[in-house]
């Protein structure tokens, strides 16, 4: 038990340098990218005085008009982050970055969770079934699916679904998160959950309908890796002696497969942690395709405006979330397999 605690502490401490390194990289990359935020914000018609004033306001130059050295800008920003201050956006109202992030993040989380569930369901079911029907045409079909789905481009498959279910059949919405004016009362920011909490059935149905196409798109693209991994792990477990013994004892197939899946689950669990980062990346493309108002599209837009503080804040926020998920997966992994923590 003591060793598990030490493992948890070490693992948690390791996330700190990861975030610092990431923060530093983003800080530098944003500043060596061509173009400055001032021009992006005020446009080409702005007079020179206005440009200077904005630069001063953004902490890029001092009162005398001299540029503030990069390392001082970095330390100013870093000390802010340590105090929990992500800074203020450079554009449109100059709102606190953390407020902007928290407004957009629930949409991404909702989409990611649903996409993850879809990918896991497809991956596990198809992987187990493929292993069960080893070397049959079903196995081959699922293997082909595993390869194709992995190679699918999200905007392409997304548009296909939009055309089929939105335009042709007209049964599902093509874009957006909920029908206009139907947003449930904000509690968690997750519309499905909020509409359940507030017993708002029309909102629940509307947000569920809007979630179906994006989450299936995201789920399908991410499911290939789970299909292939589950199939491989299951084949390995199914060839072991205890499975042969179980079969000899006449256990039904369903029970044997469930038993085998439990044993095959460790590599799948590891992959689940890794996939979470991919899921957020995939969510950016999915969000654009389906006009989903999440953190991905928000981040892309702010990069275009060179909104330094917002981009840095969002990336750090992403890093913290991914590190936390990774930590949780590692802990579960360590809990399941005692060899890890020694």
């Amino acid at each position: 038990m003591v060793s598990l605690k030490i493992y948890v502490a070490t693992r948690a401490l390791l996330t700190i340098p990861t975030i610092i390194i990431l923060l530093t990289i983003v800080f530098i990359v944003m500043r060596i990218l061509p173009g400055d935020p001032v021009t992006a914000i005020v446009g080409m018609k702005a007079p020179p005085e206005q440009i200077q004033e904005l630069k001063r306001e953004l902490g890029l130059i001092d009162d005398l008009g001299n540029p503030i050295p990069l390392y001082i800008q970095y330390f100013n920003y870093f000390s802010g982050i340590i105090k929990g201050d992500f800074g203020k956006s450079l554009i449109w109202g100059k709102r606190p970055v953390i407020v902007e992030i928290l407004e957009h993040f629930p949409a991404t989380i909702e989409l990611s969770i649903m996409g993850f569930i879809v990918s896991l369901l497809i991956g596990l079911i198809s992987g187990v079934y493929s292993a069960h029907k080893y070397s049959s045409w079903i196995d081959s079909t699922i293997r082909v699916y595993g390869i194709i789905s992995y190679a699918l481009f999200i905007p392409w498959i997304g548009m296909l679904f939009q055309m089929l279910f939105g335009v042709q059949l007209k049964i599902l919405p093509v874009a957006g998160r909920i029908d206009p004016g139907m947003e449930p009362q904000q509690i968690t920011g997750l519309f499905l959950l909020d509409s359940i909490i507030t017993s708002n059935m029309p909102s629940f149905i509307s947000s569920l309908k809007h979630l179906i196409l994006p989450s299936i798109t995201l789920g399908i693209v991410l499911s290939g890796i789970f299909t292939r991994l589950t199939r491989g792990a299951m084949l390995e477990v199914l060839s072991q002696d205890f499975i042969t013994a179980a079969k000899a004892r006449g256990l039904p197939n369903r029970k044997i497969l469930l038993h085998a899946l439990k044993n095959a689950f460790i590599p799948i669990l590891t992959m689940m942690g890794l996939q979470f980062a991919l899921l957020l990346t995939g969510a950016i493309l999915t969000e654009t395709t389906f006009s989903w108002p999440g953190i991905g599209t928000f981040l892309m837009e702010r990069i275009n405006y060179r909104d330094y503080t917002t981009v840095q804040g969002t990336v750090v926020f992403f890093a913290i979330i991914i590190s936390l998920v990774s930590l949780i997966v590692d802990l579960i992994y360590a809990y399941i397999d005692p060899r890890i923590r020694y």
């Binding site: 109202g93 335009v167 919405p173």
Partner: protein
Amino acid sequence: MEKNNNKKAITTTMAIALVVALVVGLVLGYLASMLMAPTAPGVTTTVVSTLEKTVTVGAPTVERLIIGVTDKVTDIDPSNAYDFFTWEVLSNTMEGLMKYVPGTTELEYGIARSHTIEENGLVYIFKLKPGLRFADGTPATAEDVVRSIKRVMEINGDPAWLVTDFVEDVVALDSETVKFKLTVPVSYFLALLATPPYFPIHPTYKPKEIDSDQTAGGLGPYRIVKWTRDVELILEANPYYYGGAPKVKQIIVRFFKDATSMRLELEAGRIDIAWRTLLPTDIKDLKAKPNLKTLECPGGFIRYIVINTRIKPFDNKLIRQALAAALNRKAICERVFLGLTEPLYSMVPIGMWSHIDAFKEKYGEHNTDLAKNLLKQAGYSETNKLKIELWYTPTHYGDTEADVALLVKEAWEETGMIEVDIKSAEWTTYVDQSRKGIMGISLFGWYPDYIDPDDYTTAFVNASWLGYAYANAELSKILKDASVLPTVEERTPLYERAQRIWAEDAAIIPMFQGKLVIVSKPNVDGIYLDPTMLLRYWLFFFTG
């Protein structure tokens, strides 16, 4: 045995892969054909006349109309709002002393009912319409007009120059009278009054700072009831609007991340109007669909080529004239924009008073022979080619920009005496380079601030943001004279002369003018497009 099994498995896998590929291909082909192919011969394109003046409103009241856009609302405070879509929203939720007659570039009174001009155009006095009220019922007076304009001057945000460059002072003479004292006489001052920095705002706006998310609005036909940034904007009819209730009680604006999903939502019937900005290929497809209605008209957006006359060899007028003559505007409009832009032969756009095709008069269209002659006179030949760098930015004018640059190069190189090296830079770097005057030839675009020839001319001569690329003393004098003359009749000959000087100097060469295109359900009416590029939501109504 195992080898046979493997072989069998591989064969089966390949066969299945082939079948899957075929099925996917068939499905894709079917869907693509459904989406792209014209479904019926009827093309329901209507070109809106910019001269249309009568606004017919009739038809039953319908509760809600949904508009899709890929634009965004930035700062909804008129003291800092400086983009067209935000100005559109402000023009529907606020109103100034003057406004445009829908479908035209002519002005009419907004919240004003009369005005007088005194002291040789230095003083404007306006009388307000009686009984004006904000959307919550608060009475609006001349003091509110003065407070709002002075606030813009004090905050000094992005569009503040539209006030501060012209207005010395503004005072309320009584509750219904506003007096402006100008720094110099300005013939287009009434047009300036139709822009958002002059709109009176509700007293709840923060007095001395930008209130970016404030939705209290002003004296327009609609009021904002809900705004979720980048998601949706819900407007409802303002019960206190002096002009009476709009036919459509509720307007919802949905913000899309990309044009394709907006197009698909229109086809799925989930939005009533797809507004700015559909892709040219999508517009072409949608025009052919009988269950949708397409309207188009020339917009106020223009594109042009800037030649820096301070850089050698572009200080030589013959070279600039040769480039103007060789340009193939029609090819750009047809091949890149599929006919959704119009060739432009003057900086003053088509549809605006005083416009003449000055460049066409002087050079014709894609006149390679003339270009060759001019280049020969300048000392160039097939063996001694003029080498130039043509700059464009891929990050500001859309994905088509690289193709525009390519066609400009193609037309110039057709002379056989020019060699063009295309270079690009990200937008903010591009603007920076422009300010520093280090690009010989570059591509730019212009959205108007106010609807007047002055906005399309004066801003480009001796302009710091163009690195002072172009200067001409005679032109500057003509433009200055034209800016103070009181009537269109007096100003027109001066702008015509200015356009001819422009064509002669060929330092800034107009390329094309954007068209405004809107696609709607067939039962949506009351859509007026004009060079102001702003939709008037209060004119919409459903027909059956």
